[in-house]
């Protein structure tokens, strides 16, 4: 019996082995040429979406949250669904960078930078919603423990407050992680810059970084520390987001499985979105030899794994509901399958659990169009997962007398659209301004990039001891 060698041997991370300068040229190309037509179209679309969202937001501020579909039993709907959805997406980035860095997974270099950027924009998008979903957004400052005219402090028992801390921390750390990663590349751009303005901007942004080794060693240590703390951070953030629900008394929310379940889901959706965008980008910017098929393959494997975890959580929820014998729990979950929203539930299950199982087949994993379709479905499915958890649990809770139904309004939908516009606008601008792959890291993992000898200071250069 013979193994298919691709499973055993480490695949080349950078294909057909270019010189360092070729790498520079390849990666920096998009930042130097004039934008392509396709880019303009994409920007136009996302900007329009963003505009629509802005108008909806304006209406919401002017008239109040009533513009949304939320109502008496369903106090949270699209607002929080979108929030959790985007936070989830924000997880792949830091996860890829941090955890894979700690595990010394070299293949991360191809996609890390891009994923981190996505994290930041996703978290920015997510961060909008908790603020605008409040009835009096202009008082959102009350959520921060500052002295105020009421003399009262925030309530540290509330998971929503934990959210505030978690999300802001997560954004800050991710941003630092991303931006110090950028410094050496910006230094490179600075030195390649031909015109004065560019040069000045880049030299300011690069803080006058000189690739000196003394700096490198501090830099690497700091980078490692950030990776080290981001890993638990990533896990904590979505756990805390899940506390919003797990800590409540509502059947369907009040579950101990939520933290791991949410984290798995977050990674799942995160990778889904990353590959969705990467597949397009690597084509558009001709980076197939840097973001290789092997990258996609590995990510699809992770998708498969997380999808299975998510599926397990779904089953476990139902089991526990039945096992608890608690009538409220039982009804809540029966209601997901049989109730008026069962279509949402079936979308969720099919997109998140059933369809990704196709990734067991290598052919599908390595076929770009199929992957694209599947990951798109994964995004849809994960959005509906949050919808199922939040809306379906709320709309029929303890007292049948207060049962209700939720219909989204135009405002809801345009805000959802706007959130995508917001995200992609930033993403497109990033693609044009900064190298979307970490050049210095890629160089570091090319063939023969690292020295083959190991020396200590010595008075005479010879004879050398081999490392």
């Amino acid at each position: 019996m013979s193994f298919d060698s691709t499973y055993t041997k480490e695949l080349p991370l950078v294909e057909n082995n270019p010189t360092l300068r070729q790498i520079d040229d390849a990666i920096l190309l998009p930042t130097q040429i004039k934008p392509l037509k396709g880019w303009w179209i994409a920007l136009g679309l996302s900007a329009t979406a963003l505009l629509i969202g802005a108008v909806a937001l304006g209406l919401t501020f002017y008239y109040g949250i009533g513009m949304w579909g939320n109502n008496q039993p369903v106090g949270w709907a699209f607002g929080i669904v979108n929030f959790v959805f985007w936070i989830g997406i924000g997880h792949a980035g830091t996860l890829i960078s941090a955890i894979l860095l700690l595990f010394r997974q070299k293949w991360r270099t191809g996609i890390a930078r891009f994923a981190e950027a996505m994290t930041i924009f996703a978290v920015m998008t997510a961060g909008i919603f908790p603020v605008i979903h409040t009835g009096r957004p202009w008082l959102a400052g009350y959520l921060i423990p500052l002295p105020n005219q009421n003399g009262v402090w925030v309530n540290f028992l509330s998971p929503l407050l934990w959210d505030v801390f978690a999300v802001s921390t997560y954004f800050t750390i991710s941003f630092l992680f991303w931006s110090i990663g950028l410094i050496p590349d910006i230094a490179l751009m600075r030195d390649r810059a031909t015109t004065k303005i560019k040069k000045t901007i880049y030299s300011v942004l690069s803080l006058g970084w000189t690739n000196s080794n003394r700096n490198w060693s501090n830099y690497e240590r700091a980078y490692l520390i950030l990776a080290g703390i981001s890993t638990p951070l990533v896990l904590s953030v979505h756990s805390i987001v899940s506390f919003d629900f797990a800590v409540s008394v509502l059947p369907g929310w009040h579950t101990t499985i939520f933290p791991p379940y949410f984290v798995a889901g977050a990674i799942f959706s995160g990778f889904g979105m990353v590959s969705t965008v990467l597949i397009v980008v690597r084509k558009a910017f001709g980076l197939q030899h840097i973001i290789t098929m092997n990258h996609l393959d590995t990510m699809n494997k992770i998708l498969l794994a997380t999808s299975t975890m998510v599926g397990y959580s779904y089953m476990m929820e139902f089991f526990i509901a039945w096992y608890s014998g608690n009538p409220f729990e039982m009804f809540a979950f029966a209601n997901r399958v049989l109730g008026p929203y069962n279509w949402a539930w079936s979308i969720m299950v099919s997109c998140n659990v059933l369809i990704p199982q196709l990734f067991w087949f290598k052919k599908i994993r390595r076929s770009i169009p199929v992957t694209l379709v599947i990951v798109l479905l994964v995004n849809v499915g994960m959005w509906f997962e949050r919808f199922v958890i939040i809306v379906i649990s709320l709309h029929r809770d303890f007292l049948p007398s207060s049962w209700g139904i939720f219909y989204p309004t135009i405002t809801d939908l345009s805000l959802l659209l706007g959130s995508f516009g917001f995200f992609f606008t930033f993403l497109l601008l990033f693609l044009k301004t900064f190298p979307l792959v970490s050049i210095s890291e890629v160089k570091g993992v090319t063939e023969g990039a690292q020295p083959t000898i190991h020396l200590h200071p010595h008075s005479n250069g010879y004879p050398k001891e081999k490392a």
């Binding site: 039993p73 402090w153 049948p400």
Partner: protein, 1066 residues
């Protein structure tokens, strides 16, 4: 500097020469030499030098500007003034705190910030309940019942509760309007108006033309006197009195059976067995306030009194029916047969009373048999068995009540049945009085024919709206066109006013004087609590002015004086002395009621057998459909349609707001092929109506029930086009009764219309939902027998054999203990009938906005109390439970834990409070509330509803100044009427004592007609409340969630023959 040195140098040189003597020269001696000093005298050269250099160089040279400060004086002043200006402007921009306007001389009765109460009488309907009007600084803000009133005993209905809004309604008529020129109605001064009308009246009287006054039933003796005076002045006057959705047939039947008078009040509290035939006496039929109270007195577990038992036989699914112990569903037009069958049972079979020997009667009963009837209409045999035995076993303590909408023949049969059962003992000795007899249909026909034939000169709508009220088959609207002069007195523009020439704005009851005698045993007074807000008058004084025949007769207190004079002459005639009378009169106003000296006559009423004997026309089953027009419990006959609070008060059974509908059963909907909200076309001999369908569990097949009062076409913006005009289907009532018709054609029509409920019901017979309210321990109930045999059965069911102290479950960390006062509420579900009086009162007390139909549809009701209605059984034969649901003020409130800004926290006296101004409006608390009793201001509803009509200035007078008006984006909920608790606290502090629980009454508690709500201090061991709170029937909703609510519900006991709860509800 250098110069000075040189000079010194020279001086030194001089010294060396030694020549210091003055140089004397001849030419110097020519003129006298004036010298100032010796040195000058001697021409001291050094002095001369000094003199030349009087100013040294540095002093004479111009100053060096660079060495000076940059900041010149001018610049400094400029800066100072600028900053002063900024500061001034800044301070001027601080919030405008407004001005204080104190009383010039404070009235003795008013203490600023404290309420003052006035006893008065409600004129919302002919029951004339006593009111106690709460005013703050002279502004009425709340209406409650007058506890001294013999009938209403301190309770009023929802209409009265919400009536404050009628006073402050910005759409009230503010001036008399002359609409003679329909094109441009113009305001007209009272004086001018009076002159014109008096002229017209005189000429009409002279010309022998009829002056028709169309009035509702007159129950005010003084108003009667005014009308008499008017008739004296204008002899051709004729007064027509009608009572929409009244009890004409009942009264006429009574008159036939007992010679004269009206159907008397019934002493329900004395009744053991009550059989209600199509009568919704708990909410809309007759005097609801009294009936609910008396009925509930018969169901009080705390008095230890034997429970009464309520049987209902009805086609409609009425609140009374759903509250009853046994409910039989029977097509309404079969009810009469049912009564005859019962009579047959008692007279022929059991030969119960003297009537058994009366052949004229028994002959009529021959061809009725209960058994056949039961099998024909497959009624539950054993229940009828219980009914028959109960009725025959309880002579004198059982009563049969027929619904007002039943035809006269049925009522005669019912009266006979009551006689047979000896139930006539339960008829109260006091009599319902109408000062002017209600006009019969023939009299109304006469009015119309007079109009048509031009015999009528003037028509006066005496605060009535006959164009809307009268059955269309009278053709009143057309006839009115022939009237030369139509005068309408109204509060708000209405259909009749629209058709008339002059519209006269009226005072509301808060601005009027008056007296009422709804029953012969007492008089009640009405006094204004605020001067008229607009240029309005009260109807009596308008007529009085005309009766006096000149416009100058009008004075501000014309009717006030007239009223006092009349009382001096009649009611208080024994007080001859001025001071004595004034005292008595003031006492009357203070109390609001005066018991009349003419005590109830004790002569036994003699039943006239010939009433039955001569009975020929009978109600018999006919056609596929029976149409019931029932009186709305909120809008009444439609007079109150412009009151948003009432429009938004959901129907007690169907929970529909802002609309009426054709309620039909599931089978009927199937046979018609219609679903909820589909329009159907209903055609009767008197008219046709397109109306949406609402499928109501428990309605008899073929029965179509429509509530009255909706579909006003000419009205304020609030009530206009809300619902459908059921009066189009009213008949003259010659055949059965105006409100009952079994000669109806119903067909599906195209299109649909949204009927909005605040609580839509699920398919409650499917296993998925079946009995969910019992499984979840939301509703706990048992049977009365079970309770008597084992008072602790419920506690055992819930907690097993656990002891009190074992129930105190622990926790991982120590919990807060409320020592001292701890507020709590007890709601007795045995007494609660599910009428929404409490919600109505809460709206007024707590400044709750109207949100409008569209927002209710989105489920954004703002009312703090929800009347939950749960069905069990099957859609054909449902059981229902009612439960008021308000904030439970849980000790372990889930809402508090999750609020990120600590906007909702617990007070030390156990109240779950909301700091409105801290709330940022994450609706997390609402999500986490198991009872879903929190309400969120999704909009500024005041601004949103009907183009911000609630922002009108007049409404801000109505708002309770002790309660914050919440802005948009804020969460709110029941506060246990915190403001009232604070009042008690203030008093306690002044009187230097502890706060006493029994001194605080919440608004809902005050309003509850059946006294089902108790409020008090849970830690006050020796209070009544403590007993209620720890009753062995008490339970907490959703006990398993362990939120430790402070609202305790007393489990409902059904007074049925089964001894097991399970059988009781399925």
């Amino acid at each position: 500097m250098r110069l000075r040195e040189e000079r010194e140098q020279e001086i030194m040189d001089k010294k060396d020469t030694g020549n210091i003597l003055p140089a004397s020269s001849d030419e110097n001696q020519k003129e006298p030499n004036y010298w100032r000093s010796f040195r000058e005298l001697y021409n001291d050269p050094e002095f001369i030098k000094e003199r030349n250099l009087e100013f040294s160089k540095d002093e004479t040279s111009p100053p060096d500007t660079n060495s000076l400060s940059r900041l010149s004086r001018r610049k400094f002043l400029a800066l100072m003034s600028a900053s002063a200006a900024v500061a001034a402007a800044g301070c001027s921009n601080y919030r405008d705190k407004g001005v204080l306007i104190p009383y010039n001389s404070k009235p003795e009765s008013v203490t600023i910030g404290n309420p003052t109460f006035f006893a008065s009488t409600c004129d919302g309907c002919s029951n004339a309940c006593g009111l106690l009007i709460r005013t703050i600084e002279g502004r009425p803000i709340k209406v409650d019942g007058n506890p001294d009133h013999p009938v209403s005993k301190g309770k009023v209905c929802a209409i009265a509760q919400a009536s404050v809004m009628n006073l402050y309604d910005p759409e009230r008529l503010k001036n008399p309007v002359d609409r003679t020129d329909k094109g441009n109605p113009k305001d007209i001064a009272w004086g001018e108006l009076d002159e014109k009308i008096i002229g017209a009246l005189k000429s009409a009287a002279a010309g022998g033309k009829e002056i028709s006054i169309v009035a509702n039933s007159i129950i005010s003796p003084t108003a009667k006197k005014v009308l008499d005076d008017f008739t004296v002045t204008y002899p051709t006057t004729k007064i027509y009195s009608y009572e929409p959705y009244g009890s004409e047939t009942k009264n006429s039947a009574w008159a036939k059976c007992y010679g004269a008078g009206n159907y008397p009040p019934v002493q329900l509290d004395k009744a053991k067995i009550i059989l209600s035939l199509e009568s919704d006496f708990l909410i809309s039929d007759g005097n609801k306030v009294e009936a609910a109270r008396l009925f509930a007195e018969g169901r009080d577990v705390f008095t230890g009194k034997e429970f009464n038992r309520l049987y209902t036989v009805e086609g409609n699914a009425s609140l009374t029916g759903l509250n009853s112990d046994y409910r039989l569903i029977l097509r309404t037009d079969l009810i009469e047969d049912f009564v005859w069958c019962l009579l047959n049972e008692f007279l022929i079979k059991q030969r119960l009373s003297v009537f058994a020997s009366d052949v004229n009667i028994t002959s009529k009963l021959q061809n009725y048999s209960l058994e056949q009837f039961i099998s024909a209409n497959n009624l539950p045999k054993e229940v009828i068995g219980h009914l028959v035995s109960d009725l025959s076993k309880n002579p004198g303590t059982s009563i049969v009540i027929g619904g007002s909408l039943l035809p006269e023949s049925t009522h005669i049969a019912i009266n006979l049945l009551n006689e047979v059962l000896g139930s006539s003992k339960l008829y109260s000795k006091e009599k319902n009085v109408h000062q002017i007899p209600i006009s019969t249909p023939s009299e109304i026909d006469l009015l119309i024919s007079n109009l048509k034939s031009g015999k009528t000169g003037v028509v006066i709508h005496y605060d009535t709206n006959p164009v809307y009220d009268f059955a269309k088959e009278f053709g009143y609207a057309d006839a009115l066109k022939n009237a030369p002069l139509v005068i309408t007195m109204a509060h708000i523009i209405n259909e009749s006013a629209d058709a008339g020439n002059y519209v006269l704005p009226l005072n509301t009851m808060f601005e009027s004087w008056g007296d009422f005698q709804p029953r012969n045993t007492f008089f009640s007074t009405q006094q204004p609590v605020i001067a008229p807000l607009y240029n309005t008058r009260q109807k009596e004084e308008i007529l009085l002015t005309w009766a006096k025949g000149n416009k100058d007769a009008f004075k501000a207190d014309l009717y006030h004086q007239y009223l006092m004079d009349n009382w001096k002459a009649t009611v208080l005639s024994e007080f001859k002395n001025e001071a004595k009378f004034n005292n008595a009169w003031s006492a009357a106003l203070n109390d609001g009621v005066v018991m009349s000296k003419s005590v109830a006559s004790d002569v036994p009423m003699q039943f006239k057998n010939e009433a039955v004997a001569s009975l020929n026309s009978r109600m018999t089953k006919n056609g596929d459909f029976v149409l019931l027009l029932t009186k709305s419990s909120t809008l009444g006959d439609g007079k109150h349609a412009n009151n948003g609070w009432l429009q938004e008060l959901s129907h007690p059974v169907t929970k529909v707001v802002w609309d009426n509908y054709a309620a039909i059963s599931t089978q009927t909907s199937k046979s018609l092929g219609v679903d909820v909200n589909d329009l159907v076309k209903i055609t009767t001999s008197s008219g046709e109506l397109e109306i949406p369908v609402f499928i109501q569990p428990g309605i008899a097949e073929g029965v179509i029930a429509i509530t009255s009062g909706y579909g006003r076409t000419v009205c304020g913006v609030v009530g206009k086009d809300a619902g459908f005009d059921s009066n189009k289907l009213l008949s003259k009532g010659t055949k059965l009764s105006p409100y009952l018709n079994n000669d109806v054609k119903v067909e599906k029509s195209s299109g649909s219309y949204d009927v909005i409920t605040t609580q839509d019901y699920y398919p409650f017979d499917e296993p998925f939902y079946k009995d969910i309210q019992y499984e979840r321990e939301i509703i706990q109930e048992g049977t009365y027998l079970q309770y008597k045999s084992d008072p602790d059965f419920l506690r055992r069911e819930i907690h097993g054999e656990a002891k009190e102290e074992e129930l105190e479950y622990g926790s991982i960390n120590k919990q807060y203990k409320h020592t001292g006062v701890k507020w709590g509420m007890v709601i007795d579900l045995n007494k609660c009938t599910g009428c929404s009086e409490c919600a109505a009162a809460c709206n007024v007390e707590n400044n709750i906005p109207i949100v409008g139909k569209d927002q209710v549809k989105k489920r954004r009701m703002m009312q703090w109390i929800r009347l939950d209605r749960y069905y069990s059984g099957t859609p054909e034969v449902p059981k229902a439970n009612f439960q008021p649901m308000l904030c439970q003020h849980c000790d372990f409130a889930p809402c508090e834990n999750v609020c990120p800004v600590a906007a909702t926290t617990h007070s030390t006296d156990g109240i779950n409070g909301m700091a409105y101004n801290r709330c940022v409006g994450t609706r997390y608390c609402s999500n986490n509330c198991p009872y879903k009793v929190r309400r969120f201001n999704y909009f500024n509803f005041r601004d949103r509803f009907r183009d911000g009509i609630q922002l009108e200035e007049s409404y801000s007078l109505m708002a309770n100044p002790e309660v914050t008006v919440r802005s948009r984006g804020v969460m709110e909920k029941c506060t246990f009427c915190l403001q009232r608790i604070m009042d008690e606290r203030q008093v306690a502090i002044q009187e230097n004592r502890m706060v006493k629980g029994s001194n605080v009454k919440t608004a809902c508690q005050e309003a509850c007609n059946s006294n089902a709500i108790y409020f008090g201090d849970q830690n006050d061991k020796d209070s009544d409340f403590y007993k209620f709170n720890n009753s062995n029937l008490g339970y907490h909703v959703l006990d398993d969630v362990k939120t430790k609510p402070n609202v305790t519900y007393i489990a409902k006991l059904k007074n049925v023959f089964e001894t097991e709860k399970s059988e009781a509800h399925n």
